[in-house]
């Protein structure tokens, strides 16, 4: 008796192989395309989200400095903001620090002076200056010459700050937009749809 051939039983015909290969190719193609699209979508969302986080960071930075600011001015193009803030901490080179180096980094006790517009609180004889500016794709914060990049994105972040000065108060209005990378048209709506607004009041506004 001759046993039946297993190879013959388990093999594929040419037609079966071609159909299987065709189906596999289609499935593989769909999988790769889907993965690629998924990856692009994820990148786009991640990029949008990351840039949005940078929007919030710029707003928070600005709000923090404006709140404690004595004077705020904005440039004509509204993209450079200069803030004068109290020198809360004793810095190296300050008179107090020269007299007692151990005071460097310590909070300073303010002094009071009378001005025509009322008593004024002074933290040290001089103030600090903070400048927010745009340099290429980066948003810079410069405090007394020390530069910190607080946001950087290829999504064309554009902050604009308006300084509003009233009789008894002063505040800044900031709007920040960007151009998401996955949009192609670059239309106004695509940019304005990303806008974040913020308002911050000066609590130390100096008059006179």
């Amino acid at each position: 008796m001759r046993p039946p051939s297993q190879f013959r039983i388990n093999g594929f015909t040419l037609a079966e192989m071609m159909i299987a290969l065709a189906v596999s190719a289609v499935v593989l193609g769909v999988t790769l395309t889907s993965s690629s699209s998924l990856q692009k979508s994820f990148n786009a969302i991640d990029s949008y989200f990351a840039t949005h986080m940078q929007q919030i960071r710029i707003v928070d930075y600005l709000s923090r400095d404006v709140k404690r600011g004595l004077v705020v001015t904005t440039s004509a193009d509204l993209q450079t903001v200069t803030i004068t803030v109290p020198n809360y901490l004793v810095q190296a080179g300050d008179p107090e620090a020269i007299a007692n180096p151990a005071l460097v980094g310590c909070p300073r006790t303010p002094t009071i002076t009378n001005t025509p517009s009322g008593p004024q609180v002074n933290y040290g004889a001089v103030t600090s200056t903070i400048v927010y500016s745009i340099n290429g794709l980066s948003i810079l914060r410069t405090e007394n010459g020390i530069v910190t990049t607080i946001a950087s994105s290829t999504d064309q972040l554009v902050p604009q700050t308006t300084d509003v000065e009233l009789a008894n108060t002063e505040y800044t209005k900031t709007s920040i937009t960007f151009q998401p990378i996955f949009t192609s048209g670059g239309s106004v709506a695509q940019r304005s749809g990303t806008t974040v607004y913020s308002t911050a009041y000066l609590r130390n506004k100096r008059r006179g």
Binding site: I56, R57, D60, K67, P107, N114, I150
Partner: protein, 480 residues
């Protein structure tokens, strides 16, 4: 013999399926991990960072409320706090749905040289817990390949970074690694509270106003520039800018204005209209209240004598004193005549508390700065208020508000006589008769004056007088 057919292909399908599930799971996990970092940053960390500031400002408000009590309710100020000299430390307060916490340290850091009024500094800290997972792939730099997640927001994941780096008071002393139970963000602010002085207008009354006479006038000058002379109708005069601050502020709509007002007028719902008799602005929509006045608690112990004055008495304080530490007399009555002399040629500061009515003739010599606090009523003639320097700030009357609001307190000043003085009497009805020439300012409940009075507000009074309230004038955040 016939062999049974076996299907080995089924195992291959299972392995393929498992591999597919594994790959998809890995992709999903990677996406989830990235999303979790972003979610933590955007949601809980940003929120906690903002809430920490809210908590710190709540601590500032708690401190500010206690600072206000030092003048509005002195016996209750800083009750329940840990008090050591001029420093007061609050207990920690937890509040809000997200379990925020705050605490404050208030200290007296400056006494005004002119008035002696204290200035307070309030340092408060607010803490907000950070929910979600701990640090996952965060970086604190901004640039290619880094996202600056913690560039702005300092998060205490395991220990309090501020105490570890700068010490509990931020002065570099007492640095320690203090573990935190849960991730948290802490922010610190410092606020300066300045005393509000009482004499911001020539006449300020919280209730009804009647007066002055039809031929009366209210104007102003600045005693720092020399004695008063009328120049409110001469723009070319070098002191013209100081001459039109004779403002009148009324807390109700009931106001009958007569005479010429060289200043602003405000009412609460009144119907005052612009006219040739009012040179400044008119605002009929300014409500305000003036809190009752309580006897200050920061005066030194009283002198042993005199304890009452009912005849002619002359006193010379043992020391010149200062605005913050005057020589203090406690009198059970003040009638007759009291003369107060300076100590040599020094500027001399005196405070007198009369626990009854005020009917005395007071003679304040030049160089003497007197504050009279009285519990009862005041009934004098204009000539009984003898302030020889002519500076209203040198003779200040303070009427202590009755403990029972229903008790009527009166101040009545009759002719004849001119004088220079200030009155702070938020609970008193003031009656002014005759045609006196007055220099000073008054704060009262109701005002009635039917004489053709000349009233000159001294702009130097802007910063004179006892603190009647506090306002926050400076705000700084410790951004470390």
């Amino acid at each position: 013999m016939k062999f049974k057919k076996t299907s080995f292909e089924q195992g291959n399908v299972l392995i393929c399926a498992l591999c597919t599930i594994l790959i998809i799971s890995l992709i999903g996990a990677n996406v989830l991990q990235n999303c979790t970092t972003r979610f933590n940053v955007s949601s809980s960390q940003v929120r906690s960072w903002k809430e920490a500031l809210f908590a710190a400002e709540a601590g500032g408000d708690i401190g500010y409320a206690e600072i206000r009590k030092t003048v509005l309710n002195p016996l209750q100020a800083f009750n329940g706090w840990t008090n050591s000299g001029s420093q007061h430390v609050s207990p920690s307060t937890a509040f809000g749905e997200n379990n925020l916490s705050t605490s404050a340290v208030v200290d007296l850091f400056y006494n005004d040289a002119i008035t002696g009024n204290p200035w307070f500094r309030s340092r408060s800290r607010g803490t907000a817990p950070v929910s979600g997972l701990r640090r996952i792939g965060m970086d604190d730099r901004m640039g290619a390949g880094s996202r600056g997640d913690s560039l702005l927001r300092k998060i205490d994941f395991n220990t309090d970074h501020f105490i570890a780096t700068y010490g509990p008071n931020g002065d570099g002393l007492g640095k320690a690694l203090i573990p935190v139970a849960n991730p948290q963000i802490t922010r610190r602010i410092e606020q300066i509270s300045a005393p509000v002085t009482p004499f911001e207008a020539a006449i300020k009354c919280t209730d009804t106003f009647y007066g002055l006479g039809s031929a009366a006038q209210v104007d102003s000058y600045n005693s720092k520039n020399g004695p008063y002379y009328f120049c409110a109708n001469n723009p070319a005069d070098p002191h013209f800018s100081d001459s039109r601050s004779g403002s009148v502020e009324i807390g109700t709509a009931v106001m009958n204005v007569n005479g010429m007002l060289y200043g602003n007028v405000s009412t609460n719902g009144g119907t005052i209209r612009p006219s040739q008799y009012i040179t400044g602005t008119i605002d009929n929509n300014i409500p305000f209240t003036v809190p009752p006045y309580a006897m200050p608690t920061n005066l030194p112990p009283p002198q042993l004598s005199p304890t009452s004055v009912s005849s002619t008495v002359s006193i010379t304080p043992p020391v010149a004193g200062t605005a913050a530490a005057p020589t203090y007399y406690l009198l059970s009555s003040l009638s007759g005549k009291l003369t107060i002399n300076p100590v040599g040629g020094a500027q001399t500061y005196v405070a007198i508390h009369v626990t009854n009515d005020m009917t005395a003739h007071l003679d304040v010599k030049p160089g003497v700065h007197v504050k009279i606090f009285f519990d009862g009523n005041m009934d004098v003639k204009g000539r009984d208020i003898e302030n020889e320097s002519g500076l209203a700030a040198n003779l200040q009357y303070y009427a202590i508000s009755p403990s029972d609001p229903a008790t009527v307190q009166t101040i009545s000043i009759a002719p004849p006589g001119f004088f220079a003085a200030t009155f702070y009497a938020p609970s008193a009805d003031v009656h002014l008769n005759g045609n006196p020439d007055l220099t000073g300012a008054i704060v009262c409940k109701t005002f009635y004056g039917n004489g053709n009075t000349s009233w000159h507000y001294d702009r130097a009074l802007d910063t004179e007088g006892d603190a009647v309230d506090y306002r926050i004038v400076s705000y700084v955040e410790d951004i470390r």
